[in-house]
């Protein structure tokens, strides 16, 4: 059996050539779902359904708790910019990210279930160092989001469930870069930091059409943030005159940057030909077209600190996700998956803050059940297509290369 499974996986891998987004989203919010490359909207049969499809919660009995984390090890390099040196190789400094989750659900009765989720579906972190060739564009960038998501699920008729939730969102952003004080031929640093909280919502539907076939639809709303923050400048101390000029031209400045987190729309179909085997195919749209510009509105502009308005013109991204699970025995399940998506950033506005490109993901994982305890582990390899930029509107042409490995583990307890 396992041989056939491997063959099936290989066929899938070679057969997937959709040129399909990623942006700064993190769809890996559960070890089981991750092991199936996120193809989980129709199954939604563990407590991570709060993230993937809240309607799935009605499948769970009693109390269900889960804590989990995903270790992400990204690697990126930029070769260029071509107008300086087409072969200048710049590597992103190594960082590890561990977006973590907490989920809880309670089945009130046969129809009604309640849930609470905590997860981080958006984030980014890139650090190119303070002295790299693109320091005037970005040195260290960091976006963190935290979602608290209370959820209600209801089985309308046998097989048909709906779920809705509210999101309380906390977001925090830091964008650092170098600034050049031309008259004094002096480089300094700018640190732009801001945060905000906002409310969003989500809803899902799940239909168990037959014993074998299930459908799922899940939607998560846009979240409009008004990041409220401060720009601080740090220039080396030179002499009293220059220091005074710097202090006058580059004061600490309050500012507001609007940023909309995009919507998610996922549609999935799962098929279970035998008791042991489950397949699922999902389609996911992320509404990145909401990210049309990055503007910062300073409350007190000075001669050198002025409002900025950088066009981004991102497009919606689409992914196709395929997952499979094989239940070896009562305790152990093995899983695999593959996904392909497209990067939302157009060539014209792509910058080193987020070195994205179209991606292919491969995933593998195990699920182990021991009485009330459920342990899920997953591994994912993210292969980003090499991306050659020649039409940059910010004069930043060159080649981006990225790769990432992810390890997820979660512990669930049901009673």
């Amino acid at each position: 059996m396992h041989k056939r499974l491997m063959v099936a996986l290989i066929v899938l891998v070679l057969g997937t050539s959709l040129a399909l987004g990623s942006g700064y989203s993190i769809y890996e919010q559960g070890a089981k779902a991750m092991a199936m490359s996120g193809a989980f909207t129709a199954q939604a049969n563990d407590v991570t359904a709060i993230f993937y499809n809240p309607a799935g919660l009605t499948q769970l009995k009693g109390f269900n708790l889960s804590v989990g984390t995903t270790l992400i090890f990204p690697k990126s390099a930029f070769t260029g910019p071509t107008d300086i040196d087409p072969n200048l190789y710049n590597e992103l400094e190594d960082q590890t990210f561990f977006p973590s989750t907490f989920y809880a659900s309670y089945q009130v009765n046969d129809q009604l279930a309640l849930g609470l989720g905590f997860f981080t579906p958006f984030g980014l972190g890139t650090n190119w160092g303070n002295n790299w060739v693109g320091k005037h564009l970005a040195t260290e960038s960091d976006l963190k989001t935290f979602f608290l998501n209370p959820t209600v699920a209801y089985e309308v008729t046998p097989g048909l469930s709906i779920g809705v939730g509210l999101e309380y969102v906390i977001a925090e952003i830091t964008l650092n870069r170098a600034a050049y004080f031309t008259p004094r031929d002096l480089w300094g640093k700018v640190e732009l930091g801001g945060d905000d909280t906002a409310i969003g919502w989500n809803a899902g539907l799940r239909f168990q059409a037959t014993d074998q076939l299930a459908l799922g639809v899940s939607y998560r709303s846009e979240v409009a943030l008004e990041l409220d923050g401060t720009a601080t400048f740090d220039f080396p101390s030179v002499n009293p005159v220059v220091n005074a000029e710097v202090a006058a031209l580059f004061p600490e400045s309050k500012g507001i940057a609007p940023l909309t987190l995009p919507s998610f729309l996922a549609v999935g179909v799962s098929f279970q030909p035998t008791d042991e085997l489950t397949f699922e195919v999902d389609w996911l749209q992320i509404g990145w077209s909401a990210y049309d510009k990055l503007s910062v509105d300073f409350k007190n502009e000075t001669a050198a600190v002025t409002d900025t308005d950088s066009p981004k013109n991102w497009e919606d991204s689409y992914s196709i996700r395929f997952g499979v699970q094989y239940q070896l025995n009562d305790d152990l399940a093995i899983r695999g998956g593959v996904m392909r998506d497209n990067d939302p950033a157009p060539d014209e506005t792509l910058d080193p803050i987020l070195p994205g490109a179209d991606r292919t993901l491969f995933s593998l994982g195990l699920g182990y059940t021991m009485d009330n305890l459920q342990i899920d582990g997953g591994y994912m390899l993210l292969l980003q297509d090499d991306r050659e930029i020649s039409t940059s509107e910010i004069d930043w042409n060159g080649k981006y290369e990225s790769i990432a490995t992810l390890f997820a583990i979660s512990f669930g307890y049901s009673f």
């Binding site: 107008d83 590597e91 004094r184 031209l249």
Partner: protein, 439 residues
Amino acid sequence: MKLIKYIAVIVLPLMLVMTGCKLSAPSETKSTASLGNADFSVYVSIGNSLTAGYQSGSLVEEHQMFSYPYMIAKQAGVKSFEQPLISYPGLTPILELKLLDPPTIEPATGQGAPTNTALARPYNNLGVPGALLPDILLTTSSANSLSPGNVYFDVILRNPSFAPDTTILQQALSLSPTFITCWIGNNDVLGYATSGGTLPTTPTATFDALYQQLLGGLSLSGAGIVVANLPDITAIPFFTTIPYLVEVPDVGLVPLQISTASGTKTATANDLILLTAKSLIGDTTGTYGPPGVPVGLHPLAPLPTTVVLDSAEVAVAKATVADFNTSIQNAADALGIAVLDVNAAFNDIAKNGVSVGGQEFSADFITGGLFSLDGVHPSDVGYAVVANLFIDKINEKFNAGIPHVNVLEIAGRTSIPTEIDAAMTQEAAQRAVEIFTQR
């Protein structure tokens, strides 16, 4: 046992995949020079202050290390490229920006001295500040130069060290150069323009004949040669910084009164007010007109003709540059020598600025980054841009792959004095703000 088998099926491929999933840095993490048909064994540069690496009114080691020939030599992997280095603060002391606004630019105190004097052969960089085209072919010392008293001829040519007395051209050829860059002729019209049209240009016919003679001489060496033509000098900050309108309290913007060859007139946008007029405008001491009458603001005290390039003189300067460039092109074409079109490149830069990897620089005085404090000569960054123009031309003509100078690494290298007059500090802040808001 069955479980182990399944785990093996998953874990083994997983480990294989993981070992293959590192980005591998290329063996070369930046471009290395390939010289194509160019031979940089002995590289010699000929020219004037622009070639010497002169900036902010001085020739000084700190900036000579960013002369465009020196940067070309470094990029091309030249092992020995000797320059007539002069210690800080330069022979004429370098200008320093004491205050940002009003731009208070003063020479450093003290005087530098030549340091690379023991070199027992001519320098590779034979750019002599102040040199005119005829000087390249005829001058052996300050005494017989077209700008008598210009000690740079003595410091750089060091006659009679290489007896008999030799000219720039002769010293260049004596090095048996394999590669030559030549950028000469700027002063043959710049002197006219910076003097407000009071000094002569080199006659066009003379320029034409001498340029042919120069290239004929250089080509005898058998070296690869690239020459550069002349930029439209009226687009440099020396001519573009001071507006022809001045703000008079309670009145508003008033055009300046200027003195021209055809008498006093009211300035228009076509007349260029020189940077040297800055300290004269509004002066009432009586040095430039009747006492008590503000200079430039009254027909009785027009700005002197030496600080104004009026529209007729602008036309002469532009026409002369065009004529000289025709001569340069023709002479080079006749010998198959490549011409770097600095004129076109600088017109574009003057209009649009330069973006390097998205970092913007412009030809604006002080705030633009491309020009030094004398308003005529480039800054380190500006010279790096010039070096890259030459490199592009060399690569094109000689099928070479010399990498560009990383302009962004050149930016931020100016050393700024740490000691400064404390009384200036207070004013600095206030005025720094104003210089930007005025723009």
